[in-house]
Symmetry: C2
Subunit: 253 residues, 2 copies
């Protein structure tokens, strides 16, 4: 009890962040839910402008009291983007990816339409120490409510770079010295567990149209599925490829 | 147009399947959504008792016309378990796991509370050719609406076996000749990428209390996370362990 309500300006920002346009204009995003906000406050407190919550929600996090705003439940639930509000939303500045591209390889998403998948892939990247997560048109906004919630704030620890097309993404990668391209193909290609050079200054692409430009410019790799049931989703496939990198990294040491 | 409405008995069954008790009593489950129903009809048509849908929903699947039931949209949506109904639900018999336990290892879930995670793990198992997916108390009902929807019907292709406790699960496994136990420990243990015998007549456990019985009876293994951000979810961790099995399988050949 006893924190001020958000100002009119803060309330307007909160509402605007529900749309892609609003996020772009303000370079901010919303992060909702106890666990996601806690992760954000633990790892990236400097990005957080303020937290809005119910008395109960605010009681479940710890943060600079100057940056806490309180709302009664019915007003909070009116702002909330979830079906079962947990009474806490953080408003945070979206980080700007550093100019330098870092790491052994770039993980690239093409046409990943599900924000939950994007968030899950961001978490896997962050856990694996893969910093470059690039995406092309047709992929969801990485900073949408649902993507941030699923990502548990992992997005803040990555260099996310968006491109108008996969061609543009690949050309930029090549300029930066990441010149070999691989794409995950459900229907063929070398096994991801044995393909040489898979994470060696390369781009590994998930998703995309079967007839897209990656098919011409990239080598196909395949996640073997002895169950003959090729139906793992994009987030699962991405996780397999990301942790195959971790495995190979361990072998080098 | 032109299929009969579900009978009173069918409607009562449909409704009852929304609860765990109803599913247990009838040994049936509901599978909702175009993609999930299509997968079910493709791989396990013999389990499907009937499909209920709107005119539009029924138009998106192909199945024995004798087993199709039609409802106007408002009545269908009243039955639907989803926020955005797609106009199609299949009612299917839950398969009985064969007595014989099969395969190189048993994947075991302890205390996995999220039905979406269960479904995702079921899909990974099925894709990888891992047939035995066991679970102990505290794990969600594998046949709940959401678990089946997330699993896209993968559950039907697995030997799912539930136990009152993890101890009981492990004892049964040992009796069946699966006598070494491993559990995924976020805080230590040997790397899952190098641990010997990990899939050799063993049980690999995900989830559970940090102080549970598995800690005493099983060896700990760890998914290396060089990002120092130990926050992948249970479904991602399971997928890494399941596909590490696939990788080792390829090496044997």
């Amino acid at each position: 009890m006893g924190y001020p309500a958000p100002s009119k300006r803060e309330t307007a920002l909160l509402r605007a962040l529900g749309t892609r346009q609003g996020r772009r204009k303000s370079s901010c995003c919303r992060c909702e839910g106890v666990r996601a906000v806690r992760e954000l406050l633990e790892f990236f407190p400097e990005n957080v402008l303020f937290c809005v919550g119910t008395e109960k929600g605010l009681g479940q996090i710890s943060f600079d009291p100057q940056k806490l705003r309180e709302l009664p439940e019915h007003l909070f639930n009116d702002i909330s983007g979830t079906v079962s509000p947990q009474g806490i939303i953080a408003v945070a500045e979206v980080p700007v990816a550093p100019e330098d591209v870092a790491g052994d390889f770039i993980f690239a998403l093409d046409g990943i339409g599900d924000p939950g998948n994007f968030g899950t892939i961001a978490r896997s990247c962050r856990a694996a120490g893969v910093r470059e997560l690039w995406y092309s048109a047709g992929t969801v906004d990485p900073w949408s409510d649902k993507a941030v919630r699923s990502g548990m704030g992992a997005q803040f620890g990555l260099s996310l770079r968006g491109f108008a097309s996969l061609d543009e993404l690949l050309s930029t990668a090549a300029e930066k010295g990441y010149g070999t391209f691989f794409y995950a193909d459900p229907h063929g290609g070398e096994s991801c567990f044995t393909a040489p050079g898979l994470y060696d200054r390369s781009v590994v692409i998930i998703g995309g149209e079967p007839s897209g430009s990656h098919v011409e410019r990239a080598q196909s790799i395949n996640i073997p599925m002895p169950g003959n049931y090729e139906s793992i989703n994009a987030a699962q496939a991405a996780t397999v490829l990301i942790f195959e990198y971790v495995r190979r990294l361990g072998q080098k040491q």
